[in-house]
Amino acid sequence: MSLRSEHSRRSILAGMGIAAVGLTFGLEGCSKEKTAVAGGEEAKLNFYTWDTYIGKTTLSDFRTKTGIDVNMSLFATNDELFAKLKAGNPGFDVIVPSNEFVQRMSQADMLMPLDHAKIPNFKNVEPAFVNPEFDPGRKWSMPYTWLVLGIGYRKSKVQGVPDSWKYLFDSDQYKGRIALLSESADVMRLGARYLGHSVNGLDQATIDQVTAMLIKQKPNIKAFHEDNGQDMLLAGDVDLVLEYNGDIAQIMTEDPDIDFVVPKEGSLLNSDCLCIPKGAPRPNNAHAFINFLLDGKVGAEIAETISYPTPNAAARALMPESYRNNPVIFPSGVGFDKSEFGKFEGAEQQSAFETAMTKIRAA
């Protein structure tokens, strides 16, 4: 679902299987005595996350503080994470699924409920993320980052601000200069949103309506990108691209001619969360690690490295002005206010989205 620039940039490595190898951090200081943590668990932790999605010193800081060695493995998509845990937990203690997959995995009984008593730093979380619809009461997950989909565009090649989904889905004004994300669910939900529906609760009639619209629009679309839309925009292959704000924020530092807008119809929010998968061998260490990541200073260090929006109020307060008030990292306005999280509404709907996308591409 939420593949971001860094994931996609490193998909070369991911494709080569390097990512799957898993990198062990913190082995350089083996002389240090390992202190046992609560529950007498082994001082180890298996962390399964996205590539380049952690602060530079976060893991070594955690080891210094608790003596727990974090063994980090990487996945490239939520589907990969889901597929890996589908047949049972192979030994991961903490995973980082996106909101829709938090819902999917909790429904599939793949997650362990969180013990809030062990996560006092939950108090640092912004109010908007304390009780989200996809995880009422934060029973299964803690927020790590969040993102919003919108239109990244090249200012010099576009008239005004393309502040509507119309320019991507229903107009030939920018013929051949548009790239859409190839995620069927995202495209279907946003298409429905443009047609005046909610991003959730799509029925077959709505899906068909969006499919027809996109088949009509297809001659104007240059490509469905595999979340490398920001690269295509930067390289000048296209001038408008459906992407996440974090991705566009990163390339804006390289090219001042690029900007980002959340269309006025509203968009899709996305939040990557920290969860403990069922069957995790070291749940106490896992809770300690999640609590550590939610610490203000630790969160700020992470945000500094990965520059994604943080749902951590304490961390944001510690960040410099250029991050805190960046209008792309923290968008505001009518489109953003109307944005919602996508809900997981059953395997049938997922299949229907996918069939629709196959139809659009085959048309």
Binding site: I12, G15, A108, G236, S351, E354
Partner: protein, 295 residues
């Protein structure tokens, strides 16, 4: 005496065949059987697959939508194979007639791309073909030089990426060695005195090629065609990265069933349809070979 010998040889045979057979069974046939079983199953909840013996997945897979994609993939693979054959035959011929020293180097040059990962090579192609890629930058520069002398309209980059020709180009680029190597193997075994005889007896070069070389090299051509067509038919990375909105091939659809759609039974059914197609093609090739052998 001879019986003992046979028994001994059988032991040797078992000892040599045993490990690879075991390997093949455990890591190829068993997983394949599991996927085959999935193709007769259905999703129960989000994580379970019940093998119910249903044919629903195959019924879904032979809907016009998916048959159309199969057909398109076969068309792409066929076009790729034809181009590879036309481009690869002269190359294989040139290597055959090259001096022995050069031969080794030329063969190495053909195989060199295999030393680099396919994904890396595909990304390199993107860098070459994109609007601000190396080809367009070069053309743009030349255009600018011309513009200094003549009055020409501004340079419009050629659209070489994100369309079907780009996919075809990528497929040919990737699969050309698969064609050249079997062709070379066949041509190298050719009895050159036959070619000389043909030329001596008055046939031109082209006639000699078509009436002597090609028929003799036919087994090599057939295996080259097969070994190019089959992987091209299942190509997944190339259409994904170089293709446009309508460049999907069957492997892309299959991949999405296993990942995004989380519909393994349907993905398994599509995979096995592809496998059956491949079986048919291998069988046809074997049949042609046998008929030639009988003649």
């Amino acid at each position: 005496m001879s019986g003992e010998n046979w028994r001994q040889e059988r032991k040797t045979l078992l000892a040599t065949l045993g490990p690879p057979l075991f390997w093949l069974t455990l890591f190829f046939l068993v997983p394949l059987a599991v996927v085959w079983a999935y193709s007769f199953g259905r999703n129960v909840g989000l994580t379970e697959i019940e093998i119910s013996g249903t044919f629903a997945n195959y019924a879904q897979a032979i809907q016009p939508l998916y048959l159309g994609i199969f057909f398109k993939s076969m068309l792409m693979a066929a076009a790729c194979t034809v181009i590879c054959l036309i481009a690869g035959f002269p190359v294989a011929l040139a290597i055959t007639f090259a001096p022995d020293k050069a031969k080794a180097w030329l063969l190495l040059a053909v195989m060199l791309p295999f030393w680099t990962n396919l994904l890396i090579r595909t990304y390199a192609l993107i860098a070459v073909l994109r609007n601000e890629g190396y080809i367009n930058l070069t053309l743009g520069w030349v255009w600018k030089q011309v513009g200094l002398v003549l009055n020409v309209p501004p340079f419009v980059p050629l659209e070489m990426l994100h369309n079907n020709p780009a996919v075809l180009f990528g497929l040919v680029y990737v699969h050309l060695p698969f064609m050249v190597l079997p062709l070379y193997a066949a041509l190298d075994r050719l009895d050159r005195s036959l070619i000389e005889a043909s030329l001596d007896l008055g046939a031109g070069h082209f006639r000699t090629m078509m009436l002597v070389v090609v028929p003799l090299a036919l087994p090599g051509i057939l295996s080259g065609v097969l070994i190019t067509f089959i992987p091209a038919l299942g190509a997944y990375l190339t259409p994904d990265l170089l293709g446009g909105p309508d460049s999907q091939m069957i492997a892309n659809v299959i991949e999405r069933q296993f990942k995004r759609a989380n519909d393994w039974p349907f993905g398994a059914a599509l995979s096995f349809l592809l496998l059956y197609l491949t079986f048919v093609m291998v069988a046809v090739q074997a049949l042609i070979q046998r008929r030639r052998g009988a003649r």
